[in-house]
């Protein structure tokens, strides 16, 4: 069960990394310049935050998957 939960956590983290990538690339894309600096900055900041916490979860998921079954 522990490994299954860890895998689900890893899948969720990877999905969020993809979303973070889309936020970041959209934030700096030329086609979104007309939306204003506020929108672009929000996308970049949101992307960075989501990516950062997704990486934390990724690390925790790996740690859980590798932990001993009896813990």
């Amino acid at each position: 069960v522990k490994q299954l939960i860890a895998v689900l956590g890893l899948i969720w983290a990877l999905g969020n990394l993809l979303v973070a990538y889309l936020f970041l690339t959209s934030g700096v894309a030329a086609k979104n310049v007309h939306k204003g600096l506020g929108v672009q900055a929000s996308l970049v900041l949101g992307g960075i935050l989501v990516a950062l916490f997704a990486l934390f979860l990724l690390a925790q998921g790996v740690s859980l998957a590798r932990s001993r079954a009896e813990d």
């Binding site: 996308l43 935050l49 740690s63 859980l64």
Partner: protein, 318 residues
Amino acid sequence: MNRSVLLVVAALAVVVAAVVIALQVFSGAQPWGMLLTDNLVFARSIPFTLGLGVAFGAYRALGREPPGIQQKDGALRRFAPGTAAMHWVTAAAVVVALITGAWQYLKGLLAVNSRVDMPLVYRIHYLAATVLLFATAHFVTYWLMSETRQPLLVPKGQWIRHLRGTAHELPRPIGGALAAVLGLDMRRQPPPVGEFTYYEKAVSFPIWGVLLVVIVLTGVLKAMRYIYPIPGDLVWWVSAVHVGAMVALMVKLLDHLRYVLAPSRWPLLVASFTTWVSREYATRRHPAWLEELDRPLPETPAAAPAASASALQPGGTR
């Protein structure tokens, strides 16, 4: 009043509302497409969903046994079964609403065609939102009507202690930075942890509460815009805040998962399903909770009948 009456009345109101809304939808009187129909059905159902949530929360609060920490076979009950069940109902609603909400937002942001029919994405989003509204109304009512909220909150005058406890629980560089900014004395022993950790009480629960309230309120306003005339500027700002809250919820959910998936907290994750945590684990990781349990009851006539072998001390299950 019998607490069941309240729940039955609310359930009947929901059934009647569902029938009336369905009759309107299937009458063929309106030329709306699937998306607008779903939006109006969702908007009209909101008062009844909230009412049912309030009634269910009141039903649970009025039916609670006297506060106490239940024990069996070397285990302590950390959550009431209803609370654990509603936690997972809320979790499922949040996850589905986040996925469908992000899908809508990214489709517009990337200006691409969706591979999934968009009205279907919205329909699932509204269904998840309905469940989230019900769960939120239930939890707010349940906590307001019972003392179960107390262990989730930072008591008056305890913020410094909780922030110091939080700083000790965080990874050293982050905890050290927090302590430096707030002027906390990290040379002192960290205060013993109670039923819930300092991080949960001082950081996690308040953020969850604020974000859920913001996303629910803005979502309700957005849904109501075709029923009540809401100024366009206000709808724009409400939509922007709704999206901002969605991104913040994505981050908070990642943080929550990071926290609960820590190998050292595995028994707590298990407890969110089984509602029980071993006394041995509680002794090691939540000593202040055990102190609460082992503290003698005040000798009052009112307290005496409430004390039993299975329900011993103030606090109780959430």
